[in-house]
């Protein structure tokens, strides 16, 4: 099984604060990692470093085969990132937004509809401006926008927040499906149950370092 993320003693600094303080971790292809840790432990920071949004200032990091010290832009086209925020153009209609994201990653326009159906967004909402959606509906649009790009590495920051039971079920299915078709999934969440239901591995951070690791599946 090939390694998708490989961190060795990674230190990363944002705003003068060491958000990662010597993190060692390896994630293999096809894993579904549940990232845990108390508030401020560095979960979000870890994902942003993986996505190349925060540079590493010490240690070695390799993501999808790219050395993140040399080139942290190239892996991005293969990574999907869902942050605490939804990254949505609030002025656009739901469908337009997902179609734009689809086109931006070279997918076809038809994929957009499929993705929206996949996250269970009723088509009454497809031509509604995103601004008018409820929190959970927006989260679904964000997930659809990510889905449509078929990334190889999925980074999701509390994707379950704001989703209802049905949404959670669909999301879990989507994650499992992605992993089984060869993608790698890392998601952060404070809910314990998720460790059992979807994740193949639980990783706990503390103070910008690894604290506990249930080990690869």
């Amino acid at each position: 099984m090939s390694t998708v993320v490989k961190f060795h003693k990674v230190v990363a600094v944002a705003g003068g604060f060491p958000v990662l303080a010597g993190l060692d971790i390896e994630i293999a292809k096809g894993e579904i990692v549940h990232l845990r840790g108390s508030n401020g432990a560095g979960k979000t920071s870890f994902m942003r470093v993986c996505a190349g949004l925060i540079p590493i200032s010490d240690g070695d990091a390799n993501v999808l085969g790219f050395d993140m010290r040399d080139d942290r832009r190239s892996p991005r086209r293969h990574i999907g990132l869902l942050g605490h925020d939804n990254h949505l153009y609030k002025d656009l209609w739901v469908q337009e937004h997902v179609e734009f994201r689809a086109a931006a990653t070279g997918a076809e326009a038809g994929d957009a509809g499929a993705a929206l159906r996949r996250v269970g967004l009723s088509d009454r909402l497809w031509s509604v401006p995103i601004e008018r959606l409820s929190a959970g509906q927006r989260r679904r649009v964000a997930i659809a926008s990510m889905l449509v790009g078929r990334p190889q590495l999925w980074l999701l920051d509390e994707p379950h927040a704001a989703l209802d039971d049905e949404g959670r079920g669909l999301l879990d299915e989507i994650l499992v499906e992605a992993a089984s078709s060869g993608a790698t999934v890392v998601f952060a969440s404070h809910e314990r149950d998720l460790s059992k239901s979807v994740a193949t591995r639980v990783v706990t951070l503390r103070g910008g370092r690894l604290m506990e690791d249930s080990g690869a599946a």
């Binding site: 990132l81 925020d85 949505l88 153009y89 931006a104 070279g106």
Partner: protein, 222 residues
């Protein structure tokens, strides 16, 4: 690259279409500015005629700055700037696409402003070709400079006040060249209209080159 740029531009124009900001707010505002100047100059007809070219470009740049600001606010709200940076689309395409989107919106604005100037300031267009060329050159120069600096301020908490500060010095030559070229086209003053117009194209070209080469750097953090 062109395909991707067009994609971005189309998305921006669609956002514009949904919010109708250019025609609904910025164009009326620019017209208002023309009116206010007329007021401020105490409706001195000769003075207004003389100043027509300059005031036209002041109105364009002012309105255009609002459009640039908005073009990047759309990109940065809801944490969207991360998405912009994560975009699979290359930085040069982003730069071109954004510039194109802004260009079309400013053209829209000018389509309202030209008749405004003619009517309010009582000038006559004597050289259509020059006027058109100058308008296109100035708008191009404005769009690429604006997008370049817009990206520089984007994502910063103080962007709304920083952007104009950075933009004004860079745009001053465009303002000057545009005014002189228009003065010639409107027959207000005999100047080297075509020289000024080419100057604007040169500015546009230089900034396009810089933008294509460096836009990627502007998006990175850390």
């Amino acid at each position: 690259m062109l395909r991707e740029a067009l994609l971005i531009a189309r998305k921006d124009l669609r956002v514009e279409w949904r919010s109708k900001v250019t025609l609904g707010h910025v164009a009326p505002l620019a017209l208002l500015i023309l009116v206010v100047f007329a007021f401020a100059f105490d409706a001195n007809a000769r003075l207004l005629e003389l100043g027509a070219g300059g005031l036209y470009w002041v109105a364009v740049l002012f309105g255009g700055t609002l459009l640039i600001q908005r073009a990047f606010d759309v990109e940065t709200e809801d944490g969207n700037f991360d998405a912009f940076r994560m975009s699979a689309i290359g930085a040069p395409s982003l730069f071109l696409g954004k510039s194109l989107g802004v260009f079309f919106q400013v053209v829209l604005l000018e389509l309202v402003l030209v008749p405004g100037v003619v009517l309010l300031y009582n000038v006559r267009i004597e050289n259509w070709v020059l006027l058109l060329a100058a308008a296109v050159g100035g708008t191009l120069a404005f769009s690429v400079c604006g997008v370049l600096w817009g990206a520089m301020a984007a994502g910063l908490r103080v962007r709304a006040t920083l952007l104009p500060l950075l933009l004004v010095p860079v745009l001053a030559p465009v303002l000057l060249a545009g005014s002189r070229a228009f003065d010639t086209a409107l027959g207000v003053r005999a100047e080297a209209g075509w020289t000024w117009t080419s100057l604007m194209f040169v500015i546009a070209a230089v900034h396009t080159a810089i933008g294509l080469g460096t836009f990627g750097f502007l998006l990175e953090e850390g």
